[in-house]
């Protein structure tokens, strides 16, 4: 059920990109889609009653230099978190690039409305 709600969030963002006419609204739709994908990836790795993937002092068997079995059975998945960490910072960079294009287009045409931007100069 949480997976379905997350996918509904993605579809709402997709609706905004397809239907709206204002350029900044389209950018907001892209942002909502990115939030939905990050949330879905982290929900994939969740374990009920789990603990964060940080090894504390009392979970290490220092003599054998191994982690306790309780930690291995209770920790959530660290691999999707590593993927999402870079994705969040990249979304900030791509947001900057998209908004700079929008600002330049507003300067040239005087409007954010994409149905009025028809003159493509080669």
């Amino acid at each position: 059920m949480p997976y379905a709600l997350c996918f509904l969030l993605f579809v709402i963002g997709l609706y905004c990109v397809l239907v709206k006419k204002n350029m900044v609204k389209i950018v907001i739709g892209i942002l909502v889609m990115e939030y939905a994908v990050n949330l879905f990836l982290i929900m994939l790795g969740y374990r009920t009653g789990g603990i964060a993937p940080v090894v504390a002092d009392d979970q290490v068997n220092a003599a054998a230099n191994k982690v306790a079995a309780a930690f291995i059975n209770a920790s959530v998945d660290p691999l999707p978190q590593a993927l999402v960490l870079t994705a969040i910072v990249i979304s900030l960079g791509s947001l900057a690039l998209i908004i700079s294009i929008c600002i330049r287009t507003y300067e040239k045409y005087g409007t954010f409305d994409i149905t009025n931007i028809r003159r493509l100069k080669g």
Partner: protein, 155 residues
């Protein structure tokens, strides 16, 4: 863009030190507690963004010039690439090989025993530098851009 009143300027010149210290703590302790290079770098950038919002764009253009920020981004990228290539030379020919952990800390009596996570803290400092400088550069560029819808035929 203009700065703000004198109350905001005074408070932000005290608070910027706390934010900077917090960001540095998150970067340096990234291998033993949650955080790491990305979160710490963005927190460092927000300290400089606070300065820019409080003091105005002209003050920042003189003291934290964008050309210096660009050079810092490039220096961070070069440092990260240098750490990666050093693994080629010191290890068994693998890119990004963790040569400090696997090779130099093999015995107990080596000198680098206090960094037991290898290249991870060094790479995190490089990533923090890249992220901080890049994000400050882009927000500075956005804030000092003057909207100019004078005519439709630019340049």
């Amino acid at each position: 863009m203009k700065g703000m009143t004198i109350i905001v300027k005074t408070i932000s010149s005290w608070v910027k030190m706390l934010i900077f210290l917090f960001g540095l703590y998150i970067i340096l302790f990234g291998d033993t507690s949650p955080g790491g290079g990305f979160a710490g770098g963005v927190i460092l950038a927000s300290a400089y963004v606070l300065l820019m919002l409080a003091f105005g764009g002209d003050f920042v253009k003189q003291n934290l010039s964008p050309s210096l920020t660009l050079k810092l981004v490039c220096a961070g990228m070069l440092a990260f690439a240098a750490i990666a290539v050093a693994g080629l030379f010191y290890g068994p020919d693998a890119f990004f090989w963790n040569f400090i952990t696997q090779k130099w800390l093999a015995g107990e009596g080596s000198n680098l025993h206090f960094i037991n996570a290898g290249i991870i803290p060094l790479a995190e400092v490089a990533i923090g530098l890249i992220v901080c400088a890049a994000i400050f550069l882009v927000i500075f560029t956005f804030s000092t851009f003057k909207f100019d819808v004078s005519d439709n035929q630019k340049e």
